[in-house]
Symmetry: C2
Subunit: 297 residues, 2 copies
DNA sequence: GTCAATTACGTTCTCCGTAAGGATG
DNA sequence: CATCCTTACGGAGAACGTAATTGAC
């Protein structure tokens, strides 16, 4: 049992035209070839599908039955092929990315908007998640790729650095530090510090630097940048946040000042599962983001 | 675009096993051939369907999309093939026959019951119709074949004589004719006669014989044998009906007496459209009836 | 080094088209 | 005899298997 698409097409053409010669032309084959194709099909399905003499062609009862199936098979084939083609042309599709909250709010939306304008048929979904969960979603295949400051292991992931993001000190305008154009980490010695939770990439990356700088623990340990802003504004201490998180933290009475340290930067990285290819739509977004990285630097 | 059933099967096998070697075995081809089959399929659909290295095999996003269609295509193919096979084996099917009322009530039911017992999966339908309408239904393809006393023209129909059916005189027991063992047509001279409608085969066949016999017209002209019985019983006259219609006419006070005349017989004939083959189920019924004709003679 | 997928290559076989054959009106 | 489907036959191309190659662990 091996029905080919061409055989199905031949069958349908003959069922419709009821002329071998005409159906053959429609299928772009010679009449003889067409006759053989029908004959082969009939032997494959094990039943005569057409009653025919040199003058008339008509479906047998078995042919009538088969024609229903043939129509459905042909329709499914057409649908499958056209769906693939439409996805290849990015007429339809879906792209899901996992992104750290800072970039999800500040940097990525603009890029996604550009993408959406060029590819209106593609449904975009974004998960804003912590760095750890980002890798998990990538590994499980729940997202096409991720963007985070914490690259995955090279064995399982493919990482592409977009740009280095500077950290900024977040403090009240009344703070003495607020007057400086740049902050050095040692300026924070003995200052109360509002921490992010340990599972976030900010905390994990800053941990060694902060202990070197001998900051004082405010006791606060929060998950969201918005909360950091609130705590700093309320006087619980200062904090350090990535550049693209500033918008989430800042409020009247607060300032953000760049931290001057070659280590106080974090690698904003696109991450995908190694060995798994991206969908066409996702690959296009990936490439677009790769090219647009200069626009922030 | 020409998807073959084998390619679909190969795709599904690989998508399920995620092993080329294993899927190749399942498809009964060598690993090398299988690899080529997948490669060909991918080039036909215009997209890479599997991510693979020598260690791991997994579906690409396009492969995921295609797998839905592939499952449906394979299911439709299986369904079409198995339906044809089941019809060939007469596990399922339908047979519709058009039959003249007399045979539909007296002769055919027993035959159909035998057929139904042997082929319980076949749905039987029967139209009891006049001879003219019988041919019409055959021609239109509304029935698989017909049984009537009026064969169709050989150009359009294929006729198979089942048996010759004798005509019987229908009269009251009090009628002088009722005492005879056989009737000759000339015995009916000047007798009031209850006619069937002109569209029926009985009337058409008997017309010349009756005018030769110089019967008298009762003025009654009816479509159903049951009505004939009623009219004869009520004294409107006598009538002549086919042997198998006797059961429809007879009632207390009436008798049916065979007509002795080489012309007072009618050919009970199976009729099908020339050049059109019967469905397997219908052909089996056709053949069964052909063989069972002796049982009546 | 071992195992799995792929590529190379020669063979086989399927499939196509040209041309002859046969049936029908 | 004209038309249309089918069969015959030869060549082109596809598909298969064996065997060598590449790549991953």
């Amino acid at each position: 049992m091996n029905l080919s698409g061409r055989a199905i097409d031949a069958f349908l053409a003959l069922a419709e035209t009821r002329r071998f010669a005409l159906a053959a032309k429609r299928c772009h084959v010679s009449p003889s070839t067409f006759s053989q194709m029908i004959g082969r099909l009939e032997s494959q399905v094990g039943a005569r599908l057409f009653d025919r003499d040199t003058r008339n062609v008509s479906l047998t009862p078995e042919g009538e039955v088969f024609s229903h199936g043939a129509h459905r098979i042909a329709a499914e084939m057409r649908a499958s092929m056209s769906e693939l083609r439409e996805r290849a042309n990015r007429r339809i599709g879906r792209v899901t990315v996992a992104v750290t909250p800072s970039l999800a709010s500040d940097w990525l939306p603009q890029r996604l908007a550009e993408y959406q304008q060029i590819n209106p048929g593609i449904a975009l979904r974004m998960h804003d998640v912590t760095s750890g969960r980002c890798l998990e979603l990538i590994l499980r295949g729940d997202v096409d790729f991720g963007i985070s400051a914490q690259p995955g292991q090279d064995l399982e992931f493919e990482n592409h650095l977009l740009f280095m993001e500077r950290y900024h000190l977040l403090c009240r305008k009344t703070d003495p530090l607020a007057k400086l154009p740049e902050i050095r980490l040692r300026d924070l010695k003995d200052r109360a510090f509002v921490h992010m939770v340990r599972t976030g990439s900010v905390r994990q990356q800053m941990m060694p630097l902060l202990s070197t700088a001998q900051v004082r623990d405010s006791g606060m340990e929060v998950a969201n940048f918005g909360t950091v802003g609130g705590l700093v504004a309320a006087g619980f201490g200062v904090s350090i946040v990535p550049e693209h998180a500033i918008g989430l933290c800042l409020r009247p009475g607060l300032v953000a000042i760049p931290v001057k340290s070659p280590k106080a930067v974090r690698p904003v990285t696109m991450i995908k599962r190694r060995g798994r290819s991206l969908s066409v739509a996702a690959a296009v977004l990936w490439d677009q983001l790769k090219l647009s990285k200069r626009s922030v630097g």
